[in-house]
């Protein structure tokens, strides 16, 4: 889902970059106000960021000719909190773009907005809401994982659609990612449920 250079209009690329910078400033402020707990979270933040970077290099073939790799937005948001999760995804996406040209320079704002901001913040709200009412970690993390990929696909589709005055990208990106999101949900749910059982103290919300 990494948008390359040439796919977005200058207006959309500029708007998404400004929005992303604005949210990143808020994220840094929020994180700075939690300095005491932050020190304890940095090892998990680093391990998750590295793990997501590697997991994104492993693309699984899906019948029908498409492929899927973990995005990880819901996973990192649930485990280290939404604002640190946004920074983790920003770090991963920036390394991918700046060092390996995975995603365009002009689209870096859009890519961080889709996968690093929308994919983390909205899925965190989904997780907290489902967990609050059901107390089921597996269900909350599954739905959060599914939602994170679907919303990232939808946002990406809106950006492409707005760039080329077409509704096709919205339908294609949302429908495909709503299907692929089931696998993102399964992986997110498995990892979060495993960590909850193995080291309950590690998860922020417990």
């Amino acid at each position: 889902m990494h948008i390359p250079d040439g796919y977005l209009s200058p207006a959309v690329a500029g708007t998404t970059l400004l929005l992303t910078l604005g949210v990143l400033l808020i994220a840094i402020r929020k994180i700075s106000s939690e300095k005491d707990s932050l020190n304890e979270k940095i090892p998990l933040f680093t391990a998750l960021s590295a793990g997501i970077f590697v997991a994104q290099m492993i693309a699984w073939p899906i019948p029908g000719g498409t492929s899927l790799h973990l995005i990880g937005g819901a996973l990192v948001g649930i485990l280290v909190g939404p604002w640190l999760g946004v920074l983790s995804m920003t770090l991963v996406l920036s390394v991918q773009c700046l060092v390996f040209h995975d995603g365009g320079l002009t689209a870096i704002g859009a890519n961080i907005l889709n996968m690093g901001i929308m994919g983390v913040l909205t899925s965190y709200v989904v997780f907290r809401t489902v967990y609050r009412f059901t107390k089921k970690v597996w269900l909350g993390s599954f739905l959060a994982g599914w939602f994170s990929l679907t919303i990232a696909g939808l946002t990406c589709g809106i950006e492409l659609g707005a760039s080329w005055n077409s509704s096709l990208p919205v339908y294609v990106m949302t429908s495909w990612h709503a299907i692929l999101g089931l696998i993102e949900g399964l992986i997110t749910s498995s990892v979060v449920s495993y960590l909850t059982l193995k080291s309950p103290g590690v998860v922020r919300w417990s």
């Binding site: 889902m1 680093t46 770090l91 080329w164 077409s166 294609v172």
Partner: protein, 91 residues
Amino acid sequence: MFSLKTLLTLLVLLVLSPLFGVFLAEELGYHEPLDLVAEELRLNESEFTWTPLKEYTVPGLPDWLGYIVCGVLGVLIIILAGFVMKTMIRR
């Protein structure tokens, strides 16, 4: 920063990654949903590049080995960023 077990797991995944990211991708020719949109709208990716490591390749190395080297480099950069953050927090 984090445990030896985590590092070993990452290393095993990195060694296995070319199987999916290089060999299977070439054999099956699979693509992402974004490629379907690009095909329909006839979008062309810009040729401009700013790194010799484009798409996880290393000049002079076979694709599978370049993929692993890039993976290790990416992980090292992220670990370094983690150290920098930890140092900044301590101050």
